[in-house]
């Protein structure tokens, strides 16, 4: 059932078995898993069924560290949560991601890849991916493109799958099912403002809920699960100070610390030895019904030996200057039409409401894709800039979203695109850093909740690891005669590049550990010191991992669902 919290009587008290806070990927998957075991639950979603600027404004916060997206842009507050702007890139974490990394402090999960394996398999289906090998790297042989022949002791090629468009928003994908469910009660516009506990803060008794229209009510449950995202989970814990002045689960001051992202920036360019260098494997492409893309990365053995964090190198081909032909093509005319449509949208409401459609339009160009053609992947940082740009600036930003389509159109009319260069984007699985953190700001939102202050930090080891990855890229390309590399990033410098951005991945702020002095939740995702408060989502990740977070957080939500069904209820 999907209901509207604004219709509840003032000061109503609801009672259920499991109360889930947050209707994003983790919350929806957990609710479905509980319902499959006939466990009743109430899922409190702060937004509605679509983008609403007033709801979204509750996410505003401060950035005081490295430059980061405005906090009300970096996530979405309506059913489906941030999957509503999910780009679809999917890859499980490698076994090494769960291990303690020599030379990299604060690494290691208290669970292994094997613990997640059965849940990964189910998560694959939940995300709408076709049956088959979800490990992906075994799928090289049936790919129409060849990975680059680079020395395996220097760089490895990995593969990510792309979730189909109709499954990227889990809200849209599962709305009908939620509506039909008799065990799940979704309440929209239900903003949790405080978690209440018994006097010892051992047991959560109730969550206090508010609507923007002034409604107030409470939900009591046997078990409570925070599934509000990597920024909002710590916010709720820190703001719940009724029995613990420092917030719930925060006896060791760890809630909000270890904020992780997947930082990325253009780190190098490659001058190909020959203009027909084929990097099609590293572009978005079709391979037997599955969209996928490859990228280069540091080999795990080398990372261990040298004490490096994982660095991934995405290759983006830059075609020769042949846009004149492309601009005369019918495809390019259609592209310009799309660009005008997007540029004319008004901020924030119309554009926000149509964001998914705009992205769909962009992504739909990939259906025109010929093998090896450049794909206009809407990088989240670019879309984020688009969302907050003034109307007059939007037109100028559109080519950044859609510019590579010109290369695609060129290929359609002229055949193979010869390359001028290959841009190398570095993406880091950074060292967990206690100084990278979220805290509560002084300012309060419309509901009286303290806003967030994000202090995003990276470390010297992150910088050194990128430098080492570029050294290895250069030596690998040089050794194989593929081309020469120019570094755009100085690993010995003190500043990060101006185009440093994240991927809208918020992780680590309620990290998992076996030791309450080193983490916020235990390996079952239960908040230390409490008996019935759990956390679902990427905030429990101790490390950011080499994969993308959605897939792993869905697997973890399935695992939590199984745990609650078997032991906690």
């Amino acid at each position: 059932v999907i209901g509207d919290a604004r219709t509840l009587p003032q000061d109503a008290e609801l009672e259920t078995v499991v109360c889930i806070v947050g209707g994003g990927a983790a919350g929806i998957v957990l609710a479905r898993e509980l319902a499959a075991g006939r466990v009743p639950c109430v899922l409190l979603e702060a937004g509605g069924l679509g983008y609403d600027p007033r709801d979204q404004a509750l996410y505003r916060g401060e950035n005081v560290g490295l430059p980061y997206f405005p906090l009300d842009v970096a996530r979405l507050r309506y059913l489906g949560g941030s999957t509503n702007h999910y780009g679809g890139v999917t890859r499980p974490f490698d076994p090494e991601d769960f291990e303690v990394r020599p030379g990299v402090p604060h690494t290691g999960w208290p669970i292994t890849r094997a613990d997640l394996e059965p849940y990964y398999r189910r998560a694959w289906e939940i995300l709408g991916l076709p049956a088959g090998e979800h490990g992906l790297d075994a799928a090289f042989e049936d790919d129409p493109f060849e990975p680059l022949d680079v020395p395996a002791d220097r760089l490895v090629t990995r593969v990510a799958a792309i979730v189909p468009k109709d499954h990227r928003s889990l809200g849209a994908a599962y709305e009908d099912e939620l509506r039909r469910s008799t065990d799940i009660t979704v309440l929209l516009h239900a903003n949790v403002t405080e978690i209440e506990t018994d006097g010892e803060a051992r047991r959560v008794t109730r969550v206090r809920v508010a609507t923007l229209e002034g409604g107030r009510f409470g939900v009591r449950a046997k078990v409570f699960v925070l599934a509000a995202g990597g920024l909002e989970n710590p916010r709720l814990l820190l703001a719940s100070r009724g029995t613990r002045p420092a917030g719930l689960g925060n006896d060791y001051g760890l809630v909000g610390r270890y904020f992780l992202e997947h930082p990325r920036f253009d780190a190098a360019i490659v001058l190909p030895s020959a203009p027909d260098l084929d990097v099609g494997f590293y572009d978005l492409h079709d391979a037997h019904g599955l969209k996928r893309e490859g990228y280069l990365a540091l080999p795990p053995a080398l990372e261990r030996e040298e004490g490096l964090v994982d660095v991934q190198l995405k290759l983006r081909a830059v075609p020769v200057k042949a846009y004149a032909d492309a601009e005369r093509s019918a495809a390019y005319e259609s592209l310009k039409s799309i660009a005008r449509h997007a540029a004319d949208a008004e901020l924030p409401d119309r554009f926000g409401a149509e964001l998914a459609n705009v992205l769909d339009d962009v992504m739909s160009w990939q259906s025109f894709s010929l093998p090896g053609v450049l794909a206009p992947v809407p990088f989240p940082e670019v879309v984020g800039r688009l969302m907050r740009a003034a109307p007059a600036e939007k037109q100028a930003l559109i080519p950044e979203v859609l510019g590579d389509v010109a290369g695609m159109a060129y290929k359609a009319v002229a055949g193979r695109v010869p390359l001028d260069a290959v841009v190398v984007t570095a993406r880091i699985d950074p060292q967990p850093n206690p100084n990278s953190r979220v805290t509560l700001a002084d300012e309060r939102d419309e509901l009286g909740m303290p806003r967030l202050r994000l202090d995003w930090q990276l470390t010297e080891l992150d910088r050194e690891s990128v430098g080492r990855a570029l050294d290895l890229l250069a030596s690998a390309f040089g050794a194989r005669g593929l081309g020469r590399v120019r570094r755009l990033f100085d690993p010995r410098g003190s500043d990060w590049p101006g185009d440093l951005a994240g991927g809208w991945h918020h992780m680590g702020t309620t990290r998992m550990s076996t030791d309450p002095s080193r983490g916020v939740v235990d390996p079952d995702c239960r908040v230390f010191g409490t008996s019935n408060l759990y956390v679902a989502g990427s905030s429990v990740f101790p490390t950011a991992g080499s994969g993308t977070p959605t897939y792993t957080l869905v697997a973890l939500a399935l695992r939590l669902g199984a745990h609650l069904r078997e032991t906690a209820l």
Partner: protein
């Protein structure tokens, strides 16, 4: 390095380097490379020609490795990387270029690389640029 040379010139230097030692793969550009070499250092430097980008890269290299600011020493170290040793400079142009190309690949394979103004070069390539800088560029302070 970049004080007197534009990035485009440096890019040109890397291209010139690639042309010089991989001439067989970039046939149309080979005519740009003048080879007339009365002595060993001149012979090697002539492979690059008076390319300003290569000279800039070479100056950068020699600033970083001042002990190699000597044409004879550079020549000795470059030819030491070739199977024919010092006699290799008397090989035909194609043979010499191919040997230098293989030496560069070996350097990359064994991670004997330097980074000059962001460009990663094999050490043998950097030394070739250094030679060009010594013989065709202004004095290095």
């Amino acid at each position: 390095v970049s004080g007197r040379f534009t990035r485009r010139e440096l890019f040109g230097g890397v291209v010139a380097l690639a042309v010089a030692i991989a001439g067989a793969r970039l046939e149309p550009w080979r005519a740009l490379v003048a080879v007339e070499a009365p002595g060993d250092p001149d012979r090697l430097a002539a492979l690059l020609g008076p390319d300003p980008g290569a000279i800039a890269l070479g100056r950068s290299y020699l600033r970083a490795v001042p002990v190699e600011r000597d044409a004879a020493r550079l020549t000795e170290r470059i030819t030491a990387a070739l199977p024919g040793g010092s006699a290799a400079v008397h090989d035909a142009d194609d043979v010499l270029r191919a040997e230098l190309g293989r030496a560069a690949r070996r350097d990359f394979d064994e991670q004997r690389i330097v980074c000059l103004d962001g460009w990663y070069l094999a050490v043998v390539e950097a030394r070739l640029c250094g030679l060009a800088a010594l013989l065709h560029g202004p004095p290095i302070a």
